[in-house]
Amino acid sequence: MPNNCHHCDEFSRAALLRKSAAEAGRGLPAIEPGMPVPAGTGLDRRSFVSGVFGLALSVYGLGKLNLFDEGIAHAATRPSQPVLVSVFLPGGADSLSVLAPVLDPNYRKLRPTLALPADAGPAFAEDTRLHWHPSLQPLATLHGEGKVSVMPAIGYTHPDQSHFTSRHFWEVGATEARLTTGWMGRYLDRHGSKSNPLQGLSLDYQLQPSLASLKVPVASLAAPDDYNFWAPGVWGQVENRMLQALAPLGSHRADPGLNQAAKATKQSDRLRRQLLPFSNSGDNNYGSPVQYPKVDSGFPRQLAGLAAMLAAKLPLRCVAVTAPGEYDTHSDQPQALADGLDVTARTLLAFQRDLEARGLADRVLTLVWTEFGRRGEENGSDGTDHGAAGAAFLIGSRARGKMVGEFPGLTSGLDRDGNLRPTSDFRGVYSALLEQWLGADARGVIPGAKSFARPALVK
């Protein structure tokens, strides 16, 4: 993590606690008093391999595992539904670099060393004061095509500057510390199925709290290419030959016991072949028609796999994933921020192009968010401290492509702590997504939904 400040021990502890949230029953490490427990903590977790699609899932929530296969198969036969993907930038990304107010008179005063030069990145067409971070060229491209709605200052009143608490608010869809279900989890509880854990998919080794449900199962899956037959010290041509030997090993045997094992071998081999589109070996990239960034990050692989799963008609509805990069930039901000945004934005562009090439672009909207923005004024160590309103993006062919809320400026737009004031509320955005995209009533999912203005998000 590119910071050496003490008050951010909290951030790593939060990460630790989140990790353990998925390991129900193993006991949680102690947290400070007053901090909320992550949604989904203590949910029963069980491993399950879907025979239908050969995915090794960790399933959270009630239900009999052997029913899920039927549920997934059944759900997969129904008409395709809209999909919402949540991409989280962990640590509080600096919105004043993401969309740098290079023409705001106060920008250089507040950021004497960190301010980006006026010509560093492409101009933001909807507000000429703002320029995209140079690493966000891919998003600028998509914005130019009308496929990105920008929320330049999104947040909530009475901002909380704890990573942990603020992220919790965003994930549960309310500024309530004690809510234990995620906002997408509650949507699935109302509109989901009791037998399809893929409806809420955490692309991770653990459950993303925004998907924590109470009544329906949800799942986590690190990558869809889990149905592989890897052997230690075997690769290349020899590996191919080895896999070819599965078929003859699975051929009929006279002995009923041997034949039972042979049949399982044969069926597994057949499934392996069917799932080759999900294979990520070499340049295959899950059979994607576009090239994802080749970088040392799981993110391109996760989104390439997600596109492949959608192409294979897996019944997904809400998906949550964490973006690469560490955005808690108390020091050495320029490099850390550029690195994280670069991989994230290039991958999001590849994902959009992939969906377009596969004819799926009208079914998917992606919300990119972070728990808060950062302080207007830089600190003394090439970094910035925790702030309030931050930036978020809604990406997709069906995104309306118009700015939501305005950039409030760095004079009257800062609160008395020197943090950006919000011009849109995340709960309004959630309510709008529920109503305009997922076709659900926001009341009953977002507490106090009727008090939040709904921006027009979908075209």
Binding site: F48, V49, G51, V234, W235, V238, D255, A264
Partner: protein, 444 residues
């Protein structure tokens, strides 16, 4: 007396015996056992010496000793280690049989301490009197929690244990052995157990409390009396339909096709005349021709894994086995329900892949590097070396031919100098993996 196997007793038969009545042979063990002849071999299992755990001591991924009571998953590793290192494999196998027969899940008991205590009970009483075992299980804390024994009291009878006692443990459903009235009356007889609850200890101090017992007269299986929990167990074991249930069920753990009527009757006689002892029945099953001449059985995942480790001479040294066993469909201490695991459905596309992964993890520490020297090019020699890694298990001709053909084709691909150097170790690694997951090693 039931028939006794009279065919040749060689390595192949000894291997089958060691897999069915234990966790497979250590290298050379099948050959040694074959020299004892059938009776000598069976007696060495049913009447072994003291248990000495043999082989490397277990530890977790960080090299720390196991903490079965305290660390998640270590209870399973602890048991797996016993399966791997035991010198009384039949007794350890019977522990698994009883865990399935009296299937109790930690999911419902919620106490590792009590699950381990029950596990020791099975190990201690595994081959003795079934009545004693049943009495011990009936008052076992984990079972009292699992099937609501402690909730069954005079004023509010709970039929949970009474029903399973007859349906799953002693008599069997739909055989006309008992009526719904018997269930209710048995529940009354079984009242009286209770426990205390402590903030840190959880459930403790399991005890019989006369005040909670329904001392009234009951009518069970047509007999009338002031029956209590001991009578309840005795009535079941002495029921005329119990011996056939017992023999059939026990037989099923060792032999995949049901016994012929004559055999079943002989085994019942052995059981009743011995005073309901388990060991003489097991011994007669292990001597029976059906074990050696009948079809093969799919190894339960825990047996498959423990046997691989025994064959490799490897101890329990990673926590990976807990999730791998669970993926393979047999998370120890977590049977799917009170009826235990379904022994006819161990293998499907998911569990096969889990077994593939178990094999990969098992052989990984001994993987040959692609620059390993002195690896032969000859397909037969390569296969022989791969077999040696597992202690030369007997293979079917079909598997041997498939593996040899694979090795020959893979070596034929070596058309460049670097391939000629690196392919032999790669091919041997692949042969080990294929061998470990071939139908021959999935079954016994």
């Amino acid at each position: 007396m039931p028939p006794v196997y009279h065919g040749p007793f060689r390595k192949e038969q000894a291997e089958r015996l060691l897999w069915r009545a234990g966790y497979g042979p250590r290298p050379g063990e099948a050959e040694r056992l074959a020299k004892l002849g059938l009776h000598g071999a069976v007696h060495s299992l049913t009447r072994p010496g003291r248990d000495r755990l043999k082989g490397p001591r277990p530890h977790d991924d960080r090299g720390r000793p196991l903490a079965p009571r305290d660390r998640w998953g270590h209870d399973q590793l602890w048991w797996l280690d016993r399966m791997v290192r035991t010198t009384k494999p039949l007794h350890e196998r019977m522990t698994l049989v009883w865990h399935d027969w009296f299937a109790t899940s930690r999911d419902g008991v919620d106490s590792t301490r009590l699950m381990l205590r029950q596990n020791q009970l099975f190990r201690r009483n595994g081959l003795g009197s079934f009545l004693v075992l049943l009495l011990e299980v009936t008052k076992d804390p984990a079972m009292l929690l699992w099937l609501s024994g402690v909730e069954n009291e005079k004023d509010a009878p709970n039929e949970n244990y009474a029903r399973e006692l007859m349906e799953l443990f002693t008599l069997g459903a739909d055989r006309g052995a008992y009526t719904e009235r018997d269930v209710r009356e048995q529940a009354r007889a079984l009242t009286g157990w209770r426990n205390s609850w402590g903030e840190t200890l959880g459930p403790y101090k399991f005890r019989y409390d006369k005040r909670r017992h329904d001392a009234g007269s009951k009518r069970i299986f047509g007999k009338r009396g002031h029956f209590d929990w001991r009578d309840s167990c005795r009535l079941c074991v002495h029921h005329r339909q119990h011996p056939s249930f017992f023999v059939n069920k026990l037989w099923g753990y060792f032999i995949p096709v049901p016994p012929k009527t004559g055999t079943r009757r002989s085994l019942q006689r052995i059981y009743v005349r011995s005073g309901y002892k388990v060991e003489p029945v097991v011994e007669a099953i292990l001597l029976h021709p059906a074990l050696y001449t009948g079809p093969r059985m799919v190894k339960p995942p825990a047996v498959y894994l423990a046997g691989l480790l025994r064959g490799l001479g490897r101890g329990v040294d990673t926590e990976a086995w807990t999730w791998l066993l669970s993926l393979a469909g047999q998370q120890l201490f977590y049977p799917p329900n009170v009826a235990g695991w379904d022994d006819t459905r161990w293998l499907d596309t998911a569990t096969f892949r889990a077994r593939w992964e178990i094999a990969a993890y098992a052989i990984r520490p001994r993987v040959l590097k692609d620059n390993a020297k002195h690896v032969p090019h000859d397909p037969h020699k390569l296969l022989h070396r791969a077999e040696a890694v597992f202690g030369h298990p007997t293979l079917t001709g079909q598997t041997e031919a498939t593996l040899t053909r694979f090795a020959r084709r893979a070596m034929a691909d070596a058309n460049a100098d670097w391939k000629k150097r690196s392919y032999p170790p790669l091919v041997e690694n692949a042969l080990r993996q294929l061998l470990a997951t071939a139908p021959d090693l999935q079954t016994c």
